[in-house]
């Protein structure tokens, strides 16, 4: 076996992300408790649960926005699996702008509102060293097209865009460097139902086309039904059920999941 094929074989059965016993408290209140799971290359993991169940806390700890009290988060890098909780901030921030992407629920948190759409999409390219204006602009135009924003609006600021457009712009800005792992916190939250549907379609297309690995937090079961390969259900900071998405949604075992699923079916 050559070195290359060996590395390839290792990549195939080593998780991209390995989370072990992750716990985060806010003083006496529990954020998320003793959470462990793996995410493999090309896989989309959905995390669902009611408001306050610890979804955003967990995601923030994974993306390095918040430091967990306990636990390990191993990310597969070129140098092998590295615990992102223990690594220095410089290295973690480098991963954040090269290998990871983070889509915020509120596009205002993920966009630079004072910078044109093109500048927003180009920022990550420039952050990793792109220095050819023409190439950066061409990538921006390409990505605006991929998220269905008219290229003619490339020089407008996001404040001139609708909520749905802003969210699509945020997605383009995040995916332009082909990150290896995408974190999304309620990417369709706060949008009208029809706008949500269009965004979901678009996300599904991108996930398939790019073979994205992603962790999507949502309280909307329709989102995970459409996007997630596997599902984790959270309640009071704990994971109460996990499995293949269809399995969990069609045959929920935990009574809380049953409640969650049935309340959706009633809508």
């Amino acid at each position: 076996m050559t070195d290359l094929s060996h590395a390839f074989a290792a990549a195939a059965d080593t998780p991209l992300l390995q989370v072990k016993n992750l716990t985060k408290r806010y003083g006496a209140r529990m954020g998320c408790a003793d959470i462990s799971f793996d995410v493999y290359q090309g896989e989309v993991l959905g995390i669902v649960g009611e408001s306050g169940s610890g979804k955003s806390t967990l995601l923030s700890c994974l993306a390095g926005h918040m430091r967990p009290d306990q636990g390990e988060v191993f990310f597969q890098t070129a140098q092998g699996a590295r615990d992102t909780v223990q690594m220095g901030e410089a290295e973690r921030r480098r991963l954040a702008r090269t290998d990871w992407a983070y889509v915020h629920q509120n596009p205002r948190d993920g966009l630079r509102m004072g910078v044109s759409a093109g500048g927003n999409v180009g920022e990550r390219l420039m952050a990793i060293g792109a220095r050819h204006y023409g190439d950066i602009r061409a990538s921006a135009i390409d990505w605006l097209g991929r998220v269905e924003i008219d290229a003619g609006r490339i020089d407008e600021r996001p404040s001139a865009f609708s909520g749905g457009m802003q969210q699509r712009l945020q997605i383009a800005r995040n995916l332009v460097t082909a990150p290896r792992l995408v974190f999304m916190d309620e990417p369709t939250g706060g949008l009208d139902v029809s706008v949500q549907a269009r965004l979901l379609d678009l996300l599904r297309g991108l996930v398939r086309e790019m073979g994205l690995s992603a962790i999507i937090v949502t309280h909307d079961l329709a989102v995970v039904r459409l996007l997630a390969d596997r599902l984790m259900v959270m309640k009071d900071g704990h994971v109460v059920e996990r499995g293949l998405t269809d399995q969990v949604l069609d045959d929920p075992q935990h009574e809380y999941t049953q409640l969650l699923v049935s309340s959706v079916l009633q809508v």
Binding site: A90, G119, G122, R124
Partner: protein, 294 residues
């Protein structure tokens, strides 16, 4: 003839020592913004209190001071600062670049090459080059620490997207010795190349923002740009109407209300020195006042 009410150069010795420590740290880490406890000076912030404090901390009784404002030695700001140091330090002053040991400046670097042993002191209004796109101080410090400078190019990208070229013509950002990105103070980008490899020590003082930074002699300073939009230190496509220099930075001056105008060196000392040496521009070597008097 020092005014008895003040310590030499106005500031007390403890304050000067504190400022010198900040300067030394700045010299040790070229381009890094060193925080310092800026003092109230008997003049408004817009008058360059940061530069004045740096000058005060550097001055010795033997120094010869030159003060430039917009390239000229005779504007109100330059005259006041010069008077201030004559009154408080009793030092000698000059308008000649080559005679000065310390040159405090706003807006320009002299045309004449600076020499070893000279100190340039720049007045800086906003020292943080990332401030434009990232208002959070904690975040910009982090970006400097981790060399996350992509945002500087976002600013240049926006310029080109809006104007078809990099329209930033003053305070054009630079990278110092391959490390810190720095705001060179509001000098025209025409002056940027002089920042690099300069024999003089260059010190930058921001009073309101309480920052000091430095470019030690012979430091490599590069103006940021794109491969397909390279930095270019542009100037008016003209020669000086007074001294005929075609390499100096020119100001366009309106000479009458019939649309008359002329181009003259912004560096008044440089222009006068050339005229004294016999160089005559298109308008016959008349000064603006002479022309206006006709």
């Amino acid at each position: 003839m020092t005014d008895q009410a003040y310590n030499f150069a106005y500031l007390d010795e403890d304050t000067k020592r504190m400022i010198r420590r900040a300067i030394l740290k700045g010299v040790a880490i070229p381009g890094y913004q060193v925080p310092f406890a800026s003092r109230e000076m008997p003049m408004p912030y817009g008058w360059g209190t940061g530069g004045v404090q740096v000058t005060a901390a550097c001055l010795t009784p033997d120094d010869v001071l030159k003060v430039i404002d917009q390239g000229a030695d005779d504007t109100t700001n330059a005259v006041s600062i010069r008077k201030f140091f004559v009154a408080t330090a009793g030092i000698a002053v000059t308008e000649a670049t080559d005679k000065a040991t310390i040159i405090q400046t706003r807006h320009r670097i002299p045309e004449a090459a600076l020499t070893a042993g000279q100190i340039m002191v720049y007045q800086v209004p906003i020292p943080e080059p990332l401030r434009f796109l990232e208002p959070r101080e904690v975040e910009t410090r982090k970006m400097h620490e981790l060399e996350e400078y992509g945002l500087m190019h976002v600013k240049l990208y926006e310029d080109i997207a809006k104007h078809g070229q990099i329209a930033t013509s003053y305070a054009y950002p630079v990278r110092v010795e391959g490390r810190y990105v720095m705001d060179p103070s509001p000098i025209p980008k025409f002056d940027n190349p002089k920042l690099s490899g300069n024999a003089a020590l260059q010190l930058f003082g921001a009073g309101r923002e309480q920052r000091i930074y430095a470019i030690p002699p012979f430091t490599h300073v590069v103006s940021l740009d794109f491969d397909d939009h390279p930095f270019s230190p542009s100037k008016a496509n003209h020669s000086c109407d007074l001294c005929a220099s075609d390499t100096s930075y020119l100001d366009e001056v309106i000479t009458d209300d019939q649309g008359g105008r002329m181009f003259v060196c912004s560096d008044t000392d440089y222009c006068a020195t050339r005229r004294a040496a016999g160089h005559i521009g298109a308008l016959g070597g008349q000064t603006i006042t002479e022309k206006a008097a006709e």
